[in-house]
Symmetry: D3
Subunit: 326 residues, 6 copies
């Protein structure tokens, strides 16, 4: 009579997937582990992304039945991949570095069990933790980072003495630490009025590959993604880490975010692109960040988009597995 899969109820795991503590997760031999990082104190402007993991899990009108058959492909990623949800990293509010280390530790633990971590953010500062954790397991410089964002997130400093990290710095810190060298970066969707020439020059020195929105408008999305795939699947790369800042999408279609920059991708373009990437290149990690529910309006459409970004990545990964089988 009472029905745990009912969609009016709370939704403690993504799509109703099996849950486990991170400690117990290994016993389930997962292919993919979903984990939340409810941190928004790295955000320089609006917060709210601490409720991102909850919102992304809940923004789904389908039953919590662990079944998500993709309409075009007919593939259900949960039939192809064993995916579990280990809940959220425990964080101390206001202690960003403790939180980033907790994320790194969780990610390394997941990678060590042979699974791909997908992190639900949280603001973009957490990607330093994610990348660090992946590098701990896979080795520095071994994988590419495909970064969808309106912003380069390569700020040299937070301008506050003693504060090393923020959501504007993760890509810089990953390069500086050696976890992800600059030539392993592919950035898609950048636009607007930041960063300044000094940082842009530094990025070029690091051989980061950057596809601005203006280039996408000029050349069309498909050829740009062709180039991005080629760049991301570089020499000796073991795979890619996909980091999606939801603000890569135009604020009109993703209003619930902290630092909206008009003029971005459509939702459709992003969804198709992440699925294609995950189909064409091996994914070793992913995160979806900067979904901020208090700024999302009553329809919570940005959270719905975040949920589907996760599913499209999973679908691409599943398509790759299915293709490899045949």
């Amino acid at each position: 009579m009472t029905d745990g899969t009912y969609r009016f109820a709370s939704f403690p795991t993504f799509a109703g997937l099996p849950s486990a503590s991170l400690e117990q997760a290994k016993e389930l031999s997962p292919d993919v582990v979903i984990i939340g990082a409810p941190i928004d104190w790295g955000a320089s402007y609006r917060g709210g992304a601490r409720f991102g993991p909850k919102a992304i899990r809940e923004a789904d009108y389908l039953p919590a039945d662990r079944t998500r058959p993709h309409l075009p492909s007919g593939i259900d990623p949960f039939e192809v991949l064993k995916v579990i949800d280990v809940g959220d990293v425990t964080v101390a509010q206001g202690y960003l570095e403790l939180g980033l280390e907790a994320v790194a530790d969780a990610v390394a633990t997941i990678a060590a069990m042979g699974a791909v971590p997908i992190i639900l953010g949280g603001d973009h500062s957490i990607t330093f933790g994610n990348g660090t954790g992946l590098a701990r397991h896979h080795g520095d410089g071994t994988f590419g980072l495909v970064h969808f964002d309106a912003h380069a997130d390569t700020s040299a400093s937070t301008k506050a003495p003693g504060a090393l990290h923020s959501h504007g710095t993760p890509m810089r810190r990953l390069i500086e630490s050696g976890a992800v060298p600059g030539h392993r970066f592919v950035q898609v969707g950048l636009r607007g009025y930041w960063p300044g020439p000094e940082t842009v020059a530094w990025m070029a020195e690091q051989r980061m590959r950057t596809f601005l929105m203006s280039e996408i408008v000029e050349r069309g999305l498909r050829p740009v993604v062709d180039d991005a795939v080629e760049a991301a699947g570089g020499v000796d790369s073991i795979g890619i880490f996909i980091s999606v800042d939801v603000d890569v999408v135009d604020p009109g279609m993703a209003p619930g975010t902290g630092t909206p920059e008009p003029g971005g991708l459509t939702s459709r373009e992003l969804l198709d692109t992440v699925r294609r990437l995950a189909r064409e290149l091996p994914v070793i990690g992913a995160d979806i960040v900067e979904v901020s529910p208090p700024y999302d309006g009553p329809g919570q459409i940005t959270a719905f988009l975040g949920n589907r970004i996760v599913l499209e990545i999973l679908n691409g990964m599943a398509e790759r597995v299915v293709a490899a089988r045949s």
Copy 2:
């Protein structure tokens, strides 16, 4: 590292209480069983209360740690009473009578295991199910119904041929079915411009006891509640069923509801009154209805109020147990 009690995460049970299916609940020998009734298709105006059970469970900033010590009394109801949460009744949208029967069946099942059901609504139509279920177990006419509401909910008809129930009819139907005779009713907080004289006359014939807001303003709340306690604890009553329509509170303090009627109680007055009732009279059932999240605004304060109404009822019940022990 991952922490199930974290408050940014989803909140599948009230206060993190143990969950069970209704079928398995008996084995836990609960004193109180919380169950949701996500029905809003009995509402005559605004809906949204289908998300009431979820919102009431989640509207709490405290950890999901099954601990809620009451500051004034020092009593933690979850130390005194074994309380579990069985999730939501499975309902078919648009089939109100099927839903009310499901509620009645669940309530009777809970009562039969010796527990007190507390139902999270849903619109007020569900109280027909609740009262019916209690009467199935305890017997018709054996208990009083203390009804907090801006509205009498004693409408003779829905004016739509073939439709017997709505959120305006439950008290009428309970009297008509014999489950709760009119003289067992105590209504508190009524006001406004409904129902009309015919229905008011019928209510008087049924010997329903009604305390209007105007009487509360005139005499003060305390003496009115003195009278209500006396009336509710009538001859041969085995106990009371407390039905709280959140619109008994002024819309200024409970905006997230379907049929707001200005000029009601304060939140404080309601919380103190339900706790007092539960302390002074044996409670055999309760419901809290008409919390409608889409009309509640970003602060979701009506859902927070709903959560605390449940806690104050539980606290009153616990105080009664503690007092009986000493």
Copy 3:
């Protein structure tokens, strides 16, 4: 099969009352005429009150059936009084003086047909039109003005050369024009940090009677209203014009308004007071102003309050008629 009284539908007249153009209204011999004044360009801060008349008419979950029996008294004002709704004054946006003259003309026309006008605002600038229209028919200085408000609205100037009116000036202009002399004013609920000493001194010179919130807190509402009734029903007064700025109520209970000032009356206190006034003194006109839907949140509770303020005034008037009959 299609049902014009259905509450999900639009609501073109207050409570479904008969409508007529103002030109045709006289033929219906109304006792009361409701008319909207959708003006918000007199507001010094937030606008939005142009949608006040629409919102006040629609903020009602009861059917549009011209029936509103008052629960405490059993009186249905629409059985006692013939009330019609003539829609809204036609206004030119941005031409405040044209609008105020249109309001004055409409009010004088209604008064001339022997009816009491009740105006749905709109910002408080319209009260200059209302008072002027009443004085045109009844004569300057013949009636009292009972003014509920957080603000005195007696500003000497708008500080913009060439601009005579705003929502901060109507009471000043009515005194200056002679329509309502200062000693005919009773103000209730004032608080906060405006106006300054010069204006306060001018108000005292005019012998305006002012009851601050601080006095209400100190002495209690009832004795203050006793005094207000006595003051308003002054020598030779033919009756009163009740002007209710919804911001007299605390913003917690009336958030949808342009210039919220914390620390006001409760909704209940206002509703009871306007009904008492209308029962104890002859009402010759009324307005309810400064309901601003875009600032009211999804529950639209301030509009619901505005609707009930109108009904309580009508109820008081009806009680007075009934009492006079017996």
Copy 4:
């Protein structure tokens, strides 16, 4: 002085069109009859569409003057077609099957008077009523159904025993009843993770023609609509019934809906497509469903879109008439 066409006021009919009860409508010899179906208890997730008809009528900044000249074509559909608005079907909340029958009855009545019904929903369950009503008059299997939606709405069951209908089932039920055989269906815009392979296989067996969003992205909209027009105007078809679920549009542009699925059409694409369809094929009925005002945000842009979808269909129909004349 008072002006019924004023846009701040309530808006009881679409564009200020003449109103009549359904019973009296025939006397007006309408070409098109607009009618609301305020039902949202067929929705499996978020409700709110009960206020859809009201919102769609009101979401218009133009005067209620029955004049809507289309800027590109110069055609005013209300000069070419006699369109009236009969208000809303009377429904009993929580009694879905009674409501669907009331819709079917109203639609059949309108068709019988030689008019095209355009229904303002309401959730998508109402399309079972619409299709059934059209088939009662025109005969089973005589017309095509062009269905714009993110979802196939061909669910075999509601999973609740005793409940036959929901907003996920109408297309299935219309095929099962024979009203609209599968080969008469053309579906446009489907995407996401529902339904599963069993249902997809059943749809193929029924020879439903389905154009996924992925195909539209791949091939471009124009050639897909070419195919859709050809498929819809099939052998012996007397015309088409256009059913527009507003969620076919991307949630970024239509956030106010119950089951948002990212990655849809733009508003522009939908508006152009429905106008083209109505110009190229004879329309015998239409509905626009799933506009849910409480989830639409303060701008109510989804309701504005719903209003324009109706106008574009009417414009296409008018263009067809004008073209036939010349």
Copy 5:
């Protein structure tokens, strides 16, 4: 320790630019002067644009550091152009003509100091003031007006006797006054159901050049803008005045506006187009109007768009200067 550029704080000037009173501005020898026109009483439907100037200034997550390097071009307009912000025109609410004259006077003053005024609206009525002020300085008929809008704003009358101006009339009034003759107008993005044939015929007589959205869809944006650039840079034109009504963008991406018309440009298309115009033609004035914060939702994305429209115009102007230098 305290930091005036901090982004959580209020933002009194655009991007932290230097401020001055209009009187003192000349001494700073600005190239561009930003000024607000907080008028919304010219709006025929929803207001709220009085808070547009404040919202456009504040909708920016970057520091108030007078630095905005454009990512694609690397040009920082504030290094190339001396831009200052003189705050808002002082207006008298409800006295539209006084306000329009104040705008005209301010614009003429700015033009006379050799600077380009960029006005932050306000509703579109202010463009009459802007155009008038420019013509006072530069001479009637000397410049082109490129007008982005869903609406033609060429209404002959406000239909209210005595009221000459509204946000539907500015283009008509500018033609009538001779300030901007019809052949100097280029309108982009028009759509929907207004104005009617009489006005359309008048517009053609005036030789206004109009590019409807339907033409943009048909031919593509680039060739249409090619034509627009050619048309705007007409014979003997000294330059262009760019007037951007934010409702030219689809309401899905610009919900915070007064008269939303579905089916418009994307944000990206508008941003690219205004930058191109400002690069290819000399800009002598600009305004961005109809941003209405109360209808914009919690993300305030329309205000962010407004901010970036200003920046893209400035960037195009700066690119033109840089190109001229080389």
Copy 6:
């Protein structure tokens, strides 16, 4: 023509007060210094209070003219006291301890210049900084802390290893550090289900004086405040630090806060009480915390309340000065 005091514009200082950097403030010899602490990463549940200082400054419909005459007393605090606004403390997001030290340092600096600091929060963690800063200047244990709150904020730990501070710990940490010994604490308005018995016992040991809401309901506000005044003005106290968590007010009247607890004071009660305290006892510091704009709804009434709390404290201080003079 342009007018810096205009209320539609941004509002960089409280009430338009003179601003200065903290470094330069001493030269102005202020009596009171207002400073913001935009920190919300100490909040355990909802954030958003980082925008509190901005919102509290801006939530005022009066002109930015440095004039706020109190209506009941006629006293303008800005005539009696020299008050300046030094903007916000510079903080590093996510580095709570750096921020608390920055607050402490700013507060000590202000105290050292002989001024009373009034801090605009920010979450309640900042009160550790405030109290620490005051104690640095005035000496440990020299002053009382009157704490208005729903919560005791005396948590022993954050439960996260390595994290010492949060918004649940400031009172504990101030006692532990010796800055404010327990017997110097007076807490007003506590309620709900937190903290547990262990912490309550610890509080009693520390001789903290606590007035629960239940005691206020039982005895009435006035006698409780009599006791609080007596307790706060204890032996050898040099004065009081008033710390107001806005959640002491009922969420119905203060919805925009992070951890709402139903059943609190009315706005009126709080405003009157803080003014009385500041009149009867010497104030050496104050803060108003936990105003969270994203949860406050479109009316932003909690921010308005925050603004008035500051003004009432200032008014009480001014009344004390005036009384001392006479």
